[in-house]
Symmetry: none
Subunit: 142 residues, 2 copies
DNA sequence: CTAGTTGCAAAGAGTTTGCATGGCG
DNA sequence: CGCCATGCAAACTCTTTGCAACTAG
């Protein structure tokens, strides 16, 4: 079995989309917002192209795809190169949107546990744990 | 402040939808699956009616609505006293789409660990762990 | 009888696909 | 020059809305 790896062309559109995502840091955007961003900058990038790049970048692990709470549209977020997101869990705060990276032996154990006892190989790149972060927990009580 | 609570009629359709959901136990179904179920049983219940009942039942807390993280469609699940999906994890197989409920002390420990050590209150209802299930792992090797 | 309900069809929102043209290597 | 990428428009999927007929209370 050989990897199906077609040649990749570096296009202006692909570069601009990735650069835009990178420039946003940990802020997430929807596909539509990306389209609008380039339209406003008088750069024509079709929505088809945006979707195709987002899909590819997500598959490559360069960006992360999330769901907005309404479930209707997805949003995307750049993954900075400094940390390897395949090796730890991601916690997403539903209140403030913060994305927290957690590398911890306890969580590693859970991964092994799922594999051994539940026969399930977890994909950390795709998996995000949703909940409420410490800051927002405190704020709720106040 | 007065509740806007219009009179409620008990209709055959509403009763059948709730009964169907209850009969499924902790299995999730999409709106479309419900429509098909009744169509197959030669019971005509329009999709509009299904959606309207699902929305109402979810608002009343009788069923739970949640979005599969692929974001395409919503799933609904009856809330019974015995099984509570707030208390266990959901594993979603990326290969075959199977949704697996896992209630396990190891996972409970992780929930506590996140709460205590990482100051994060996980929302199990929203959280789905992605990966590959046992069947598909075996199939991949074959 | 009155007001909530139903179901068809059509509208919406977000995303994907078909296909001819354009551009990277 | 070959092959991937692009972008327009149309198709698709899931969900909501308009509206006239229907029915529980």
């Amino acid at each position: 079995m050989k990897q199906n790896r077609p040649t990749r062309y570096t296009t202006s559109q692909g570069k601009q989309i990735l650069e835009y995502l990178a420039s946003l840091g940990d802020t997430h955007v929807t596909a539509y917002e990306i389209v609008r961003h380039f339209a406003a900058a008088e750069v024509v990038i079709g929505q088809t192209t945006v979707y195709r790049h987002l899909e590819r970048l997500a598959a490559e692990g360069k960006i992360r795809k999330y769901l907005l709470s309404d479930g209707r549209s997805a949003c995307y977020q750049y993954i900075s190169g400094s940390t390897d997101c395949r090796e730890h869990f991601h916690l997403k705060c539903e209140q403030c949107g913060a994305l927290i990276h957690v590398a911890c032996t306890q969580l590693d154990q859970m991964q092994g546990h799922l594999r051994n006892k539940h026969d399930f190989q977890i994909n950390l790149l795709k998996t995000t744990l949703y909940g409420t972060c410490g800051n927002c927990l405190t704020a709720d009580k106040a």
